[in-house]
């Protein structure tokens, strides 16, 4: 005699049904709001005001904004945005609320700098972020490294880069390569080996998945550039020696100028064009390469996001 059985059964059925419906509707709601507007994600765009309003819970709030920054970036990245307008403000707020949140600085260094659609294309903002980070965390050698990286790679300013590397190298726990890179800044900019060193250092010492993936892709591109360059110079030598353009790589192998059929880092064979150029088979898999792109190749169009 424990209550009315009909009511109990009906309530249980209705409970299960409504639970299922609410979960489905949650997913629909998520889709209807894929990109929060500037106003909503930030709500209060001034970091200082936000910090004062956070009543001492700024650590938690920083984590929340950090999550939002990653979600925002991830969401945009997949869809191929032209702008990442919110990334800089989000990272600014995050690091104002928690100046010691190192992953945020690292993320900003990679993805504020990179050009769209891979990043926001705002290297100056990245520099600002790094300088901020250095002020709050003066003994983190990675921040100096990132700063120099940005100056060298994107802003093409080897002097400022050297400056940053030197400052960083003075720290007790600095990576030994910092000194080396400072030295190399004196030589010509655009030096592949220097670039390779920097990307490799980023890849080796970062813990963020996205940042490492980005670095790996750049390293692969550098390898391809080097390989394509070398292969094309071999082809040129053959032309001089034999007076004609080789038709396949096998000819070069038979002529003793190549060890074997060359394969690119993603496992596809290189292609030798009739006019003596070397191209990659699948350029979509190798973003960031400068050489070896087939003629007339255009990067694929990713679905456009509404601008924020």
């Amino acid at each position: 005699m424990k209550g009315s059985p009909q009511v109990t059964l009906f309530a249980i059925a209705l409970l299960v049904l409504s639970m299922a419906c609410s979960m489905l509707l949650l997913r629909q709601l998520d889709k209807t709001r894929p990109v929060a507007t500037l106003q909503e994600t930030l709500f209060i765009s001034s970091p200082k005001v936000l910090q004062r309003m956070s009543l001492g819970y700024s650590g938690l709030l920083a984590d929340i904004y950090w999550t939002r920054a990653v979600q925002y970036f991830g969401g945009h990245h997949v869809a191929g945005a032209e702008h990442y307008n919110l990334l800089a403000p989000l990272l600014e707020i995050t690091t104002t609320l928690d100046p010691h949140l190192l992953p945020a600085y690292e993320f900003g260094s990679s993805f504020l700098t990179a050009q769209p659609p891979n990043g926001a294309g705002m290297p100056e903002k990245a520099v600002e972020l790094m300088e901020n980070g250095i002020r709050n965390n003066p003994s983190e050698w990675r921040l100096y490294f990132n700063l120099g990286f940005i100056y060298y790679m994107e802003l093409k300013n080897p002097n400022k880069a050297a400056d940053a590397f030197i400052r960083g190298s003075k720290l007790p726990n600095a990576h030994p390569l910092l000194k080396v890179m400072a030295a190399r800044m004196a030589d010509a900019a655009g030096d592949t080996l220097t670039s390779q060193m920097m990307w490799k250092l980023t890849y080796d010492t970062s813990t963020d998945k996205l940042v490492r993936a980005n670095a790996a892709a750049h390293l692969t591109a550098l390898i391809v550039d080097a390989q394509v360059g070398e292969l094309e110079s071999v082809v040129a030598r053959y032309q001089i020696v034999s007076g004609r353009t080789p038709a396949t790589f096998s000819e070069l192998v038979r002529a003793g100028m190549l060890m074997g059929i060359p394969i690119d880092p993603v496992g596809n064979p290189y292609i030798l064009t009739p006019d003596g150029r070397v191209e990659v088979t699948d350029p979509d898999k190798l973003p960031f390469i400068k050489m070896g792109k087939p003629l007339g190749y255009k990067a694929p169009d990713l679905p456009k996001l509404p601008t924020d």
């Binding site: 209550g3 249980i12 409970l15 106003q39 999550t67």
Partner: protein, 258 residues
């Protein structure tokens, strides 16, 4: 059946009114007038922004507080005063009682919000001397706020049907805070791995999604709200409320009223 539920609902409304709940409107009116006058003296261009942001946030917060404080006592007060015993010994079923209490409080909050809406629009008129086309979206924002109240009421009632007022208030308040960050909770869930991922995902689905119901800032900037969002939010609020009420009924049906 319906008349009994409506009777209980109207008595709950009467109780709230006679308990001087509606006096909160006075505090609200003072707040809005003060803000309107102050803002009129500061810079140009953002008065509307401030009035709408402040007004809607105040409506939301006042209402949540009322929803929690009255909601937690909906069942426990009736037990303390022994009135529940005289009601359930009449031809009133236990689930009708729950439904009636819920409708009563939800109705009270709706009336309260309508009064406050008048205050917000009055302050807006004072500050910018005319209405804009986009001000219609303020009504949508208010509608979403009422949906929030409905959910919080259902949750407070759920807790009231089995736990003490203090605990109920704590639980309801926690759920409100977490629910306001539910989209971030889902973000955490996506970034986490292993057990934390499943726990966070489970929590993210069970916790009410208040972040989707909060369009205050976009409405303050005069942006439209998509009709799809309105549709989904309404459906979601209704199904979530239904879920909570069913749970309340199930618990209340089996409870020994000592």
């Amino acid at each position: 059946m319906n008349t009994r539920i409506l009777n209980i609902a109207s008595n709950t409304f009467r109780e709230a009114v006679r308990d001087r709940v509606l006096y909160n409107l006075i505090a609200f009116a003072l707040l809005m007038s003060g803000a309107a006058v102050l803002v009129g003296q500061i810079s140009i261009d953002i008065e509307r922004l401030v009035v709408i942001n402040l007004g809607l946030t105040a409506v939301s917060l006042f209402g949540i507080v009322i929803a929690i404080f009255i909601g937690i006592g909906l069942v426990s007060k009736e037990i303390d005063r022994r009135t529940l015993y005289t009601i359930l010994t009449r031809p009133v079923r236990r689930w009708e009682f729950i439904a009636g209490k819920f409708l009563g409080l939800a109705g009270t909050l709706t009336v309260n919000t309508i009064c406050m809406a008048v205050g917000v629009f009055a302050a807006l008129l004072y500050v910018s001397h005319k209405f804009q086309q986009s001000d219609a979206w303020i009504l949508v924002a208010l509608y979403f706020i009422v949906l929030q109240f409905v959910i919080v009421t259902a949750l407070a009632l759920l807790f009231s049907s089995f736990s003490s007022p203090l605990l109920s208030a704590v639980f309801a308040f926690c759920l409100f805070v977490i629910g306001s960050f539910s989209e971030d909770l889902r973000g955490f869930a996506r970034m986490a791995t292993g057990i934390q991922h499943w726990l966070a995902t489970g929590a993210a689905y069970l916790v009410p999604n208040f972040s989707a119901l909060n369009v205050i800032s976009s409405v303050a900037h005069g942006q439209a709200v998509s009709s799809q969002l309105i549709l989904y939010n309404t459906a979601y609020a209704l199904t979530y409320t239904l879920m909570s009420l069913c749970a309340s009924v199930l618990i209340f049906e089996r409870r020994n009223l000592k």
